[in-house]
Amino acid sequence: MNGIRVGGIVLALIGLLAAACGGVATPAPVAKKLIIGFTASQTGAQNVASSKQTEGIKLWVDDVTKAGGIKLKDGTVLMPEIKFYDDESKTDRVQALYTKLINDDKVDFLLSPYSSGLVKAAAVVSEQNAKVMITAGGADDATMEQGFQNIYQVYAPASRYLTGAIDLMLKLDPSIKKVAIVSEKDSFSVSVVTAAKPYAESKGLQVVVNQGYDTGTTDFAPFINQIVAAAPDAIIGGGHLPDGTTLAKQLAEKKVTARFVALLVAPPETTFADIGDAALSIVGPSQWEPQTKYSADAAKSLNIAYYGPANADFIKSYTAMFKADPTYHSAGGYAAGLTLQKAIEDAGGTDPAKVRAALDKMDFMTFYGRIKFSTDPKTHGKQTIHEMVYVQWQKGSDGKLAKQIVWPTEAKSADAQLRK
């Protein structure tokens, strides 16, 4: 009565080993299926960003398959196969579907949905069933402070999202004094603001508006009216893609003059530019951008391993496969796959305890950046070392809007500018 059972079927092709002491004969690979499950928001508010993440995961699977699979030390070859369902951007769907993935589809490992709220729901189910899950798309700190043993976070935590923006802002214009914070009331945005507000105040800024809006808000007029009345120099906040985009658009429509505007999640997405000039000069934090410079050389100078494709190669294969530019959501999805792959290779197999041990020890670099997880029992699995970059939409010499990295200064591709 209940749906389809997909068992893990082992196909064995046994080749003959050349005998002999120390003979290095490559056996014909024993290919096993590695079933990786997750849910994607193919519909609902998280649809656009989630699709990017899924594309990143699909590209990773494609690259691994083209390279012949995940090759273990003992000669076994694992061919990754993904199984995913549409969670409609809803937490109860996530929980039901992850239960299904674990019990019916018998997945070996899990990846996460996109967006912290959904990741939290998936993490609970995953942890309840002691299944290892690598999360992309979930930056919320609170989720990673619950003492989970099986969840590993690839995104830099939410508390880091706007602190860098505040640094950027003060460097750009030290005369900025009044800041308005308008953010979504969901676990991710709340985490961000919980860290950003005290940070801003510690830098001598005055927070003149601090309001939260419910998820799904489409009318920001009440908030904008309050902002206009308080006349701040800067506005920070937002939430996810649909609300961030709408907020930016309505700020422009209502002719709000603030010298600096930083919004979460939306600005690094290519579709943000669809709102036209309203996107101009808006800053957004990003987990990765095409212009970042993480490379094998950088890894060498830090004395850590570099794993996976080079930045340029990732961008090239992504654009070829999906006919669109990758965003940090795509990179996150790919990085999650890479992390799982490396962990399995390091562990020499799919035994969950060994894979967890491998993940605990990891400190490596990819095109996406550096990845290392916390082993402290209270924050186990939290991302400790990945850094954010900040982008800003600027008009190029051709008059078209383009995304530039403006912070940190070591990584920038253009100077930051004030908003008119």
């Binding site: 656009v48 489409t218 009318d219 007029a221 009216n225 309050q226 206009v228 009345a229």
Partner: protein, 287 residues
């Protein structure tokens, strides 16, 4: 909180109130004529949003022209819904008609989410803005108010001046007597349901020009419509329009005094209070 925001918020709220009132007029008309609470009201509003959206993005039709389509489709759809779901059970106790219209609600949402998904959509038009200082009024909002007023006036003229309108009011007043006077009451009931639905769809179309939406967006406006209808008196169209304006104003002003996320709590509390204390509404019901 901040009183500098009072004037712009009040104006914003007032303007939105006209659209709310338009939606509520549809609901109250249906109740006034046939004592049926149309629980498919919300999804129908959402359908209106999609009609305008599909015409705009698919065929490039100006959203304001699309409103006419919403009106016409709404009329036809409403008549169909009446004949299929409501006609058979119209004389039965309230629970039955409540559940019947509710089933239509579920069906519309089911199909709409299957076809359009819950990914937010928006109709991107901009008519500029006008204003000084703290107050910026968007062109789209002004047009919405104008449309609402025109339609409300037309409805009034229809109900009070035209023959059919008078027939509808006759059926509302006393169905048996109207039949005795030679009015085909069934036809009038179907027509009124159609008009009620058309008004809801039209308001949905207007809302589409203002905000982004999903098939579930009708829900909030449905509840607001209930609040307004109860405020303005069940069955009283002019009460609905005024009730809408009052609610919009209240919403706008309260955002200045209490945090915005408390406003819905406030609204629902008023709703329950009015139901308990004065169910005939502030203006008295016409039933």
């Amino acid at each position: 909180m901040s009183f500098d925001a009072l004037v712009p918020s009040a104006i914003d709220g007032l303007m939105l109130g006209f659209v709310y009132g338009l939606a509520a007029m549809g609901l109250t008309l249906i109740f006034g004529v046939m004592r049926v609470i149309n629980l498919s009201h919300g999804p129908v509003i959402a359908l209106g949003m999609y009609v305008v959206y599909v015409l705009f993005t698919g065929v490039g039709v100006n959203p304001y022209i699309g409103l006419i389509a919403a009106l016409v489709i709404g009329l036809a759809f409403g008549i169909a819904v009446y004949l299929v779901a409501v006609d058979r059970v119209i004389d039965q106790p309230e629970l039955t008609t409540l559940l019947a219209t509710f089933s239509v609600n579920l069906m519309i949402i089911g199909i709409a989410t299957a076809v359009f998904t819950t990914t937010p959509r928006a109709v991107d038009i901009s008519l500029g803005s006008v204003g000084t200082g703290n107050v910026t009024i968007l062109g789209t909002h002004v047009v919405a108010v104008v449309v609402a007023m025109v339609v409300a006036a037309t409805l009034y003229a229809f109900l009070f001046r035209s023959r059919i309108g008078k027939s509808i009011r006759a059926v509302a007043n006393n169905r048996a007597a109207a039949e005795l006077m030679g009015i085909d009451s069934r036809r009038m009931l179907a027509l009124s349901f159609g008009i009620g639905t058309a008004l809801a769809m039209l308001s949905g179309g207007l809302l589409a020009t203002l905000f982004a939406f999903t098939p579930l967006s009708g829900g909030t406006y449905e509840v607001k419509s209930f609040v307004i209808v109860v405020l303005g008196g069940l069955g009283n169209p002019s009460g609905a329009l005024i009730g809408g304006i009052v609610l919009g104003l209240l919403e706008g002003v309260s955002t200045v005094v209490i945090p915005v996320s408390w406003v819905p709590v406030f609204e629902y509390a008023i709703f329950i209070l009015i139901l308990l204390v004065r169910p005939s509404g502030l203006f008295g019901s016409r039933t």
